[in-house]
Symmetry: C2
Subunit: 224 residues, 2 copies
DNA sequence: TTCGACAAAATTGTCAACAATAACGGAGCC
DNA sequence: GGCTCCGTTATTGTTGACAATTTTGTCGAA
């Protein structure tokens, strides 16, 4: 179902995308070593190309590189995940406010439809479908906001925390909590209420942070 | 006074730092082409090394690279500078609040001293000295906050907007406006008032945004 | 047995050369 | 005279090989 050993089209961008996908999809697990020669063979690209890709992914926060000791998939700790969510709280509230100011009628329809589909997904117990709609909603809000700088930062952070996000989405009862928060954001944006939209985004991200901490406490109940 | 033609120590990291410095110091002006062979000769490093450096700086937002057409120093428009300042407004307020929660007694003394030195610099008309203290203050607050994710993003954004920041600092009367804003941030942080500190940071960055727009309007009074 | 030094293997950092692509300029054609 | 086409030139993309460094494994001595 995935790609076999060697995929053609060895272009520089392709390798970056391929490795990034492998990381976010979980094919490459945290702390896994990324040996240049191995990746070179796996993706059918030259070593210099994968090297460039690793440098790029390092700046995206997905890969860790140390002098003469190679690269590995960066493992983001719970603390980092919380930090990332705090930054997201600030930037997503900014984007939500901007989106509420600039949204067009067509985009209102788009967001409303997304909201309805999310409701249906939750009602139907389609967790992974809901998770996908979740991401689409957040991305669409970023796009509507027109704040490309914030959008870029958020996109980068999303890549880093996707693993924690996914673990969160799988927790029983989590969708029932986050759905009304998402709907509140949609309502505020569609109603052209920037301050309200920002507040709704803050509430949602606060909820995410709390859930992150709770999930960790449950997984490792006794921490020294 | 700067470096002559070829500086030794060709290490990968060195080239990144050297080119970055050249850009932020204004030695390389916006839109200037960065030909790999030229840089290779200038810094005494191999082309592969400067190539890696350019990739890294691209992800930092300092250079722009287009397929088969090379790299050039990225020019950040006024709109982008405003966007960056908006993001800074959110993240610096977050850091200010966190710093107000975590600051130690020793750090209180440090910040207070910085504030006094800033007052003296403004009183003495030392604009560039004030500008340096300004940067040190913001960086110290980021460090005290302990929010490394936000700090990292802010550091990156600072590199992109340093040119606009500098132009701003040179405007007559600007230090007199920003000084009390900085002192307010210091006071709130040292008094352990997170919400107040965040608000002071927001006020300061709002002022920066307004000043940016005003400076641009003055430079190009008639825009089509 | 355990510790340290030393050799061997694996891996990254660096370099020079080759191929591919896009900007540039002139000749030919309408 | 202006425009298109094509060869030239400059520059980037890619490859393979070599040097430097770290890690691993082994042997000998306390």
């Amino acid at each position: 179902m995935t790609e076999s050993a060697a995929d053609r089209q060895p272009g520089e961008r392709s390798v970056v995308a391929a490795v990034r996908d492998a990381i976010v999809r979980g094919e490459f697990v945290p702390n896994q070593r990324l040996v240049e020669a191995d990746l070179s063979a796996q993706f059918g690209a030259s070593r210099a190309t994968v090297r460039a890709a690793l440098i790029e992914l390092t700046n995206e926060g997905l890969v860790e590189r140390v002098q003469n000791r190679g690269a590995r998939v960066r493992a983001v700790s719970l603390e980092e995940a919380v930090e990332i969510s705090e930054v997201r709280m600030m930037l997503e509230s900014l984007c939500a406010a901007k989106a509420a100011e600039r949204i067009s009628d067509a985009e209102v329809g788009e967001l409303r439809e997304l909201g309805e589909r999310m409701q249906m997904a939750v009602a139907g117990g389609d967790v992974v479908g809901y998770s996908g709609l979740n991401q689409r909603l957040h991305r669409r809000i970023r796009e509507i906001s027109g704040q490309r700088t914030a959008a870029q930062v958020l996109e980068r952070l999303r890549g880093q925390s996707v693993r924690h996000q996914f673990r969160l989405a799988m927790r029983p009862g989590r969708p029932q909590v986050s759905l009304p928060e998402h709907l509140a954001i949609i309502d505020a944006i569609c109603a052209n209420h920037p301050e309200e939209a920002a507040e709704a985004a803050r509430v949602h991200l606060s909820s995410v942070i709390e859930a992150l901490k709770a999930a960790d406490a449950e997984v490792s109940p006794l921490h020294p």
